[in-house]
Symmetry: C2
Subunit: 336 residues, 2 copies
Amino acid sequence: MGKTQITIKDIGRALNISPSTVSRALKNHPDISQVTKDAVNKYAKEFNYKPNTLALSLRMSKNNTIGVIVPEIIHYFFSSILSGIEQIANEEGFNVIICQSNENYEREVKNTQALIATRVSGVLACLSKHTINYDHFQDIIDSDIPLVFFDRICIGINTDRVVVDDYSGAFAAVEYLIQTGCKRIAFYSSPLHLEISKNRKNGYLDALRKYSIPVDESLIRVCDTREEAIIITPQILDSPNRPDGFFAINDHCASGIMYAVKLAKLRIPEDVSIFGFSDGELAKACDPMLSTVEQHGYEMGKNAAKLLLDKINGKTHGQYTNKIVRTNLIIRGTTK
Amino acid sequence: MGKTQITIKDIGRALNISPSTVSRALKNHPDISQVTKDAVNKYAKEFNYKPNTLALSLRMSKNNTIGVIVPEIIHYFFSSILSGIEQIANEEGFNVIICQSNENYEREVKNTQALIATRVSGVLACLSKHTINYDHFQDIIDSDIPLVFFDRICIGINTDRVVVDDYSGAFAAVEYLIQTGCKRIAFYSSPLHLEISKNRKNGYLDALRKYSIPVDESLIRVCDTREEAIIITPQILDSPNRPDGFFAINDHCASGIMYAVKLAKLRIPEDVSIFGFSDGELAKACDPMLSTVEQHGYEMGKNAAKLLLDKINGKTHGQYTNKIVRTNLIIRGTTK
DNA sequence: ATATACAGCGCAAACGTTTGCACCTAAATT
DNA sequence: AATTTAGGTGCAAACGTTTGCGCTGTATAT
């Protein structure tokens, strides 16, 4: 007990050979005799030698660590992405260090700087809701650190991205609402400067157009939390011709809508249909269970991590790839 | 662009001074003249010098990184703990690298070994559901790495722990059920070798005893997921004298019970009351909203991280502290 | 003029590894 | 017998920092 980690030098001293020989023996270098190798390996095992990754990283000027910048860990979608990232990184022997921006621009730039200082091998990033300046990400690229964006990307920067198929998911959801009889469909969105908002809005609009349903701008609201939804929905429900369908930017928001709709003594889905986005933990807890767009966070995380690792390992050839993770509709009880 | 990070040596070369002088200048060492300091700082700022943390860690044999081993990131309780950990670590300039065991013993030991190899400054760990051997954690301690357990602790190892007040939370919840008229209360638990299960069971049992309610072993089940709850609850509801109250080990499980209860055409809370544990995302999405024991994952994470950092910084004096995070009841619609 | 003090800076070692090169010995080739 | 070959090993530098110690030069005190 209390024993501190043993080093290559220690092994060398104990066996009366040089550190270089020990190093080579451990790596099974052909120059080293079998007897030496055996002796070294035996000793290493016995005293539980573990290479010092710090020294290794320094020597190789290559850190087997990737950084992840994520808005908030606690959201199901992000934590499942994180889970996917960790899975792949782990398989490839990489550590993942996490930073959360808390949807805060200043913290996001601090995070990027910390990651650069740590000399991580690569960075996976998802924009905070309020980020509109991207210089800190350019800094990452300028520092020769591979960068790939996921989910909330920015198009001002040349790099790889992996996104959910927001457009198609939104289009399909709204089309489903229309096909099951909805005539007036509201859309609750995150701030519109975000690509995901734009894309989903486009999906929403195009679905309406396809079925020649007029667009009513008053039905498009910026609202992406349960609390906000509970506040603004009653007003909308009160209007002379209230909507008979809601398409929400996430499940939390959808559950807020459900709450307000029930409070207004309207029936789900007979009077109003509701579609969410994410398929998080709460979707099945709702009553009726929430119809939603499954967006495969875990898959997204795995894809993003793979892409990054390929870049780190130099397997990609200068091209920026734009991976799109499919979505699919999960029809449950809040739609007809 | 393409510029790689500048080093202390580079600054020295550019300014015709030695690396040691640069180092001292940057640290505002009194031995260095103001003019030199100014020159160094100016150059450092201009060329965006950032210390190489790898070299620093190696030199100081101190890694400003802590490792966290967590069963599954995607669960709300764990991700909020993680969030709290990240918060504190960030404030203190520490990176946090995460490993998930996926509730798998083998992965857990791999994780511990990886963290030892990385020479993290400290480890925060939460046992996987199936861990019954603790040697790998002893290895961490033997490697002189501070270790603190959170939530799912093991009592076989001498170290700091921070846990939720499981006993009191359970006691209070069950007492509330009794006080609001429940006569037969079922308890759905995680595997009973876990301390949290034992403690909550004790709280459950003591509350029953306090009110002289006989214990019926058939009402105590191992079940901690929504899916399992949906399967086993109908049988229990079918029995001649069905329970009129449920105390679930987590909110997922509680939501499964709700589903089964509604399916059996029983009313919540008039016919049966339900109490969860966690206050996760889904609690408010339930209908009626779930009464549950709030367990403050974020606080727990912050506490655990603080404790660990104190140990790392040598602020604690050899004593093992046992921090207990309070719980409190959140009464919503699933109880009277 | 000599001794003392101190300000300002550089040398070199150290943290643990890897790796190009040189070195030595013994065997194999001429 | 002289030379080449190859097998096995060690030296030393490098990655970027920090830090104890020693060195220089100038200014102050005797």
